[in-house]
């Protein structure tokens, strides 16, 4: 994995064991400054444990977690002052207003009252909660609470933002807005963002880099394109084809094409694993052989393979879409 610029987050053989179970297994993670990194994996893969170790809230069994060169276990206060954390199921004090909740965060961070008031109104403005800042949090919807969570991060003004399952339980429209906001945190403010999620389809849109994290191990890491090569080298492309009539000859035709590695049939659809984009040649051939082309779709094969391999098994594939 190539890395340009400074590395902000680094873990060295980070390991956490709970008794016999290894939650995180010799994790070596490097996140460059200003990047959005998606830590993707099914529930129970050890994502939250990793995050808690990065914050110094859980002690690693062995290995190190460094944020800007600071060891999270040895110097948790320094690390926590640089990192903003939005846990999954973020909670606020229900009987306090949004502003009061943020004031508390500001006071825990030692921000002077005047300064925090300024920051809070700017943050609420930015996440679109300025109107309801003086209402009790108990009256907020889930989406609003999530946005208040983002405002909470903005008040703290951290270098690194860690979001744990930020899109969980939010409607598609809300997710789109939230992702835009998260993207803004990185692009406009130059912050580094680490998102943990099992919703690959949602998160991959905004991530510069992703890591696939399964059973405590990082099995692949890099940009989306790089991941394909890492996980299944050789087959770069998958074509989904529907044509009529779907007979024996069609299968033979596909197999005979140059560049096709394998052909799978799912009902009346054919999945072709190809080395290169053979769509022009494919269409030409189909027309020549008097087949009617009903559908031709290019899929980025590797990620789909990953989804199928690691997520469908866990039953998250449906939710992911």
């Amino acid at each position: 994995m190539t890395m340009t610029g400074n590395v902000l987050v680094e873990t060295i053989d980070l390991t956490k064991k709970y008794g016999e179970i290894t939650a995180v297994d010799h994790l070596n993670l490097r996140i460059g400054e200003g990047k959005i990194y998606g830590l993707l994996g099914p529930n129970g893969a050890g994502k939250t444990t990793t995050i808690l170790m990065l914050l110094g809230l859980t002690e690693p069994t062995s290995g190190q977690a460094l944020v800007a060169g600071c060891d999270a276990t040895r110097n948790p206060l320094k690390v926590k002052s640089m990192v903003g954390y939005l846990p999954d199921n973020v909670g606020f004090y229900q009987e306090m207003t949004g502003v009061e909740n943020l004031m508390y965060t500001a006071s825990l961070n030692g921000i002077p009252a005047e300064e925090s008031r300024r920051r809070i109104y700017r943050a609420l403005e930015r996440v679109g909660l300025a109107e309801v800042g003086h209402r009790k949090v108990g009256e907020y919807s889930r989406g609003m609470r999530q946005r208040l969570g983002i405002a909470d991060l903005l008040v703290k003004d951290p270098k690194l933002i860690i979001l744990d399952e930020p899109t969980l339980g939010i409607d598609p429209e809300g997710v789109r807005e939230l992702l835009k906001m998260i993207k803004g945190l990185s692009v406009e403010d130059g912050r580094t963002v680490l998102i943990s999620s099992h919703m690959l389809h949602q998160i991959q849109q905004i991530c510069d880099e992703v890591g696939i994290f399964v059973k405590g191990k990082l099995i692949a890491s890099g940009t989306i394109e790089q991941l394909g090569h890492q996980l299944s080298p050789g087959s770069d492309l998958q074509l989904e084809v529907r044509a009529e009539p779907a007979d024996e000859g069609l299968t033979r035709l596909f197999q005979g094409l140059e560049g096709v590695e394998s052909v799978q049939q799912h009902g009346d659809a054919y999945l072709l694993n190809c080395r290169e984009d053979i769509r022009p040649a494919l269409v030409e051939k189909l027309v020549a052989e008097r087949y009617t082309l009903l559908q031709l779709q290019k899929r980025s094969v590797s990620l789909d393979a990953i989804y199928l391999r690691y997520f469908e098994k866990e039953g998250y594939y449906d939710q992911a879409i």
Partner: protein, 336 residues
């Protein structure tokens, strides 16, 4: 700003107040917020109101009883009687009301200290701020004790002040000191319940379980522990008509020793001694021992000496509860 000062010639300390403040910034922020929380909470308001009404009722009864009896025989320490006297219409005095309701106040303030934060999902968010982890639990306990001290002092001042108007006899210095000692003792006692309920809130994930455990502990220690002590003592040293004096005394001693395991007993004995200077001893006394004793009140110093073990026991019980809660909390996983 650095203020170096030397304690001894060879030992000088560079005490940087900024550093001290910085290190405790989280603690102070938590304390401020928790105190504000307690004072604005409805459930705290309800309990404080209940306690106040009960105490005022007891004051009224005490004052009218004192006024009707003060002419008949000479009473020493009239002012203290405001707190200890009960009447026919209301068989509870101020101190018995506070002893009864105080633990409930303590439990109410602490039962959701940690489990509530977990439930609401605020625990990990708060602890991810640059504060030490113990700042949270320390701040909560300190805020609770501060609010308790405020409430008890306020209540005693209210009752004392109204009592002064009702009976018109000003307290002597010794009475004031005894009352202050009583306030201190009560704060420590209720702080014990606060620490115990914080401990339950650390141990149990469910807030309702924690509340129930607190109430169960209160019922057991306040009511059943005494009964149980009597039963055990009776079983070990059975007393019949023909029993020797030693046997009777052994039973009484054992029963007292066992019931003193409960902080409630310690507190009851201690405040009785403090507010009633005529109490000279807490254990069983033989008639022969009392012969020749000059009837008269104890001085404050003597009373304090009598209850010193009680005071130490109560402080120790409070600290042990809090220490266990602290240790468990520091080792606990943060994730919900």
């Amino acid at each position: 700003m650095t203020r170096p000062f030397s304690i001894f010639k060879t030992f000088s300390v560079d005490l940087d107040w900024n550093t001290v403040y910085e290190a405790n910034r989280g603690l102070l922020a938590v304390m401020r917020k928790e105190m504000a929380d307690h004072l604005s909470q409805k459930r705290f308001f309800i309990l404080a109101l209940l306690t106040t009404v009960a105490c005022l009722a007891s004051l009224y009864v005490a004052a009218s009883t004192i006024r009707s009896t003060v002419g008949e025989n000479q009473i020493d320490f009239v002012f203290l009687h405001l707190f200890t006297t009960s009447g026919d219409t209301l068989p509870f005095s101020f101190i018995s009301f506070l002893a009864f309701l105080g633990p409930l106040v303590g439990i109410t303030m602490g039962f959701d200290a940690i489990s509530g934060e977990r439930d609401r999902g605020t625990l990990s968010r708060v602890l991810s701020q640059p504060i030490y982890r113990d700042a949270l639990i320390n701040g909560k306990f300190a805020a609770g004790v501060a609010v308790l001290a405020l409430v008890i002092l306020g209540l005693v001042a209210l009752v004392g002040g109204l009592g002064l108007i009702l009976i018109g006899i000003p307290p002597t210095l010794e009475e004031v000191l005894r009352i202050l000692a009583y306030v201190f003792l009560s704060v420590v006692y209720i702080a014990f319940w606060l620490a115990l309920s914080i401990l339950f809130s650390v141990l149990f994930r469910q807030t309702s379980t924690s509340a129930l455990a607190g109430v169960a502990a209160w019922l057991f220690l306040a009511i059943f522990a005494g009964l149980l002590a009597g039963m055990v003592a009776e079983g070990i040293y059975p007393v019949t008509e023909a029993s020797s004096t030693q046997q009777v005394i052994a039973q009484a001693r054992l029963q007292q020793a066992l019931s003193r395991i409960s902080p409630t007993t310690l507190y009851d004995e201690a405040i009785t001694t403090l507010l009633d200077p005529s109490v000279r001893t807490l254990g069983p006394v033989l008639l022969e021992q009392a012969i020749g004793a000059i009837k008269g009140p104890l001085t404050l110093g003597q009373s304090l000496l009598l209850i010193w073990p009680h005071l130490v026991g109560l402080v120790a019980a409070t600290l042990i509860c809090f220490a266990v809660a602290y240790t468990v909390f520091m080792r606990q996983e943060i994730r919900a």
